[in-house]
């Protein structure tokens, strides 16, 4: 696994080391250049002094050099050296310190002297200047000097001083480089660890979040700017996870609560029947109701499983042509009797024939649930109207029934799992899952569901059923 800390440490150490080394090397070479240039300037000055002492007249070339003028060239210890040649290469003069020896005759042009390092005749390291020059001719002698000469001079001096100074500077630079490198090696990892500590805090905070502490959020105060967007996204993710968990917990609690009453009924019926088993009337009542409770619980579990299948995208869908008018009539038939018993005014407005491509079973389930709600929740003597309207791409199935139960504020909740208007949950035929199933199946089939309360108080639900089954409608 790649480590940001290791990566940054290696790169920073390497980079800083190169930087320190490079800057010290540059500084050294700059100082070296300046020092040598200064030394060369001294050599040039001495060479020009000697050149100015050289004179040409009608008798030839003479050098007015005297030991007191430039004593370093006659010194016994650590002397300097010079030598002047004429155009023919004959020695015009050489410094006494040469003791008859020759300096290498290397010269530049008149304006451009030449410098080089060499080993002095006494073995010391030295630096020399070589140049050409024209000797001085007095004005009085000018008419007599027919052939002005060009001479060559080489002057060499000890450079041990600047060499030892530069070496000292080099060692100093290396020492400073080492000190800085050591400091960098010690500091960089600490700085990086300290810089990355918000990531460690993030990690610690993350590990402290479990399913029981999903309400916890990452603090955004005092957070580095780079981490703010990450932490913001993480907090948004936690929001979504918390909501999903809360929904699951609420659903689990609702399911448990929903099952408590039938279980209590089962237990009470059974215990009383067992205790007074000679009361055959009650025993029969108990057995009959036990079966009904089992069917009721089976209905709840089946609906929950169907919803769960849809949520996991495992619901099998078999689109096929479905004749809607016939299907609506067929599904209404079981509710006719109940509607008549409740003295309901029922009205159907249907075209002759409408065919859509959809899953017949799922659509039947949707319509059956809506019929059940319309009939059972309508007050006695109420009305129920069912309209089917054809469109080019969608068919509208509208159901409208009398309502004295639902209020406007209830509409956002009616599709929630196990939601019931009556907190008492007295009804054993309704599970509070019917409309949740309607919405889930509708989403699966690409059917749009709309609800509203009319001014009369009537509850109205509209299904917009696509004529052609959509390619992909879930999710």
């Amino acid at each position: 696994m790649r480590s940001i800390r290791r990566y940054l440490t290696c790169r920073l150490l390497f980079g800083l080391f190169i930087l320190v080394l490079g800057s010290n090397a540059l500084l050294y070479y700059h100082i070296y250049g300046k020092t040598v240039a200064q030394f060369d300037k001294t050599l040039l000055s001495r060479a020009r002094d000697l050149a100015s002492m050289t004179e040409q007249d009608s008798e030839g070339i003479s050098v007015e050099w005297r030991e007191e003028f430039l004593p370093e060239f006659a010194a016994r210890t650590d002397p300097g050296y010079f030598q002047i040649w004429n155009e023919d290469g004959q020695v015009v003069i050489r410094s006494p310190s040469l003791e008859g020896l020759d300096l290498p005759r290397i010269t530049g042009s008149i304006g451009v002297p030449r410098f080089w390092n060499l080993v002095l005749p006494d073995g010391r390291p030295g630096r020399a200047i070589g140049m050409r020059f024209s000797p001085y001719i007095d004005e009085e002698d000018l008419p007599f000097v027919k052939d002005p000469k060009e001479l060559q001079i080489v002057l060499a001096m000890d450079r041990a001083g600047i060499r030892s100074m530069l070496r000292l500077f080099l060692y100093g630079s290396l020492f400073v480089t080492m000190i800085l490198s050591t400091g960098i090696i010690m500091m960089v990892p600490r700085v990086i660890v300290s810089g990355l500590s918000p990531l460690n805090d993030l990690s610690r905070h993350t590990s402290s979040i479990d399913v029981y502490r999903l309400g916890s959020r990452y603090p955004t105060d005092d957070l580095p700017d780079e981490l703010v967007p990450i932490v913001t996204r993480l907090n948004e993710l936690l929001d979504r996870i918390e909501k999903a968990f809360e929904r699951e917990r609420r659903l689990a609690a609702d399911i448990a609560h929903e099952l408590k009453t039938p279980i209590a009924e089962l237990r009470s019926l059974s215990e009383v029947a067992i205790k007074w088993s000679d009361d055959m009337e009650f025993v029969n009542y108990s057995l009959k109701n036990t079966v009904e409770i089992a069917c009721q619980m089976d209905r709840i579990v089946s609906l929950l499983l169907a919803l769960n299948r849809c949520e996991r995208d495992r619901q099998a869908v078999c689109p096929a042509p479905v004749e809607l008018v016939g299907l609506v009539g067929e599904l209404w038939r079981p509710w006719q009797k109940t509607a008549a018993e409740k003295e309901m005014d029922v009205e159907f407005q249907m075209p002759d024939k409408v065919v859509v491509s959809t899953d017949r079973t799922m659509l039947s389930s949707i319509i059956t649930n809506l019929f059940a709600n319309a009939v059972e929740y309508s007050p006695r003597g109420g009305h129920f109207k069912c309209l089917l309207r054809e469109g080019a791409e969608r068919i509208s199935l509208l159901m409208q029934n009398s309502n004295d139960l639902l209020k406007e504020e209830d509409l956002p909740h009616i599709f929630e799992y196990l939601w019931r208007k009556e907190a008492s949950r007295s009804s054993s035929t309704h599970t509070g899952l019917g409309l949740a199933l309607v919405q889930t199946f509708a989403r699966y089939l690409g059917i749009e569901v709309g609800t509203r309360l009319l001014a009369s108080g009537d509850f109205c639900i509209a299904l917009e059923i696509p004529v052609a089954f959509p390619a992909r409608t879930t999710g």
């Binding site: 215990e271 009383v272 109701n289 907190a423």
Partner: protein, 225 residues
């Protein structure tokens, strides 16, 4: 002992009522909050078993209204709500006990009996009067160690008198606590029941423990009062 059971589940209502009646209680029932409050207001009950989530008035509202009216009837909340805060709220509003669904019928009976004992300031389920021993938990009656089989109505009457032993009990009180909504007591039904009870528990040569206080009612006591 007369109990009111307010519960919207018909199956629970029928099963619990059947069981309680067989245990010797007179039981009235209500399937919604409004009816339940009405019955609680017009009748005198020893215990009310109250569901919380009811059509119409909810259980906590009924509880609050009864307490506001000064009713000191013992109320046992029987509900599917089991969260501690819900229990606490119910008890703080004046409930005497709290039982969550699903429940054991025997436990419900035991809690109802405990509330009745508390009503009559008794710790023991056994009441002794003369040579008679009434076990209110097992609903059995012994006289000199021998069991006396009593029908539910007569047992209820004996237990009611025994819980008030030494005190005069009026005919109206007896009617209110012994008979439930199914019975419409006539003027002589109490006298008839007392007569039957005397016949069943009295033994020749031993003093009668049920004494008639003319114009007042009846009193159950050891001696001749």
């Amino acid at each position: 002992m007369r109990v009111l059971f307010i519960e919207d589940s018909e199956r629970l209502r029928v099963s619990v009522t059947t069981g309680l009646r067989k245990e010797g209680f007179a039981v009235d029932t209500a399937g919604d909050g409004d009816e339940g409050l009405y019955l609680a207001e017009v009748n005198r009950y020893d215990v009310i078993i109250l569901d919380l989530m009811l059509p119409g008035l909810d259980g906590l509202t009924i509880l609050r209204r009864l307490r506001e009216q000064g009713s000191d009837v013992h109320i046992l909340i029987l509900t599917a709500r089991s969260a501690i805060e819900e229990r606490v709220e119910g008890l703080r509003l004046g409930a005497d006990d709290y039982l969550t669904k699903p429940f054991s019928f025997d436990e419900l009976t035991a809690r109802v009996q405990a509330l009745i004992r508390r009503e009559y300031r008794m710790k023991s389920p056994v009441i002794r009067v003369g040579g008679i021993e009434i076990n209110t938990a097992t609903k059995t009656v012994l006289r000199n160690g021998e069991r006396i089989p009593l029908p539910p109505r007569e047992y209820r009457l004996l237990e009611f008198l025994a819980r008030r032993k030494g005190r005069v009990v009026t005919r109206t009180e007896i009617e209110e606590h012994i008979y439930d909504e199914r019975v419409s007591p006539m003027s002589n039904v109490v006298d008839s029941a007392i007569c039957n009870l005397r016949r069943m528990i009295n033994v020749k040569g031993q003093p009668d423990i049920i004494h008639t206080k003319r114009g007042l009612g009846y009193i159950l006591s050891d001696g001749d009062r």
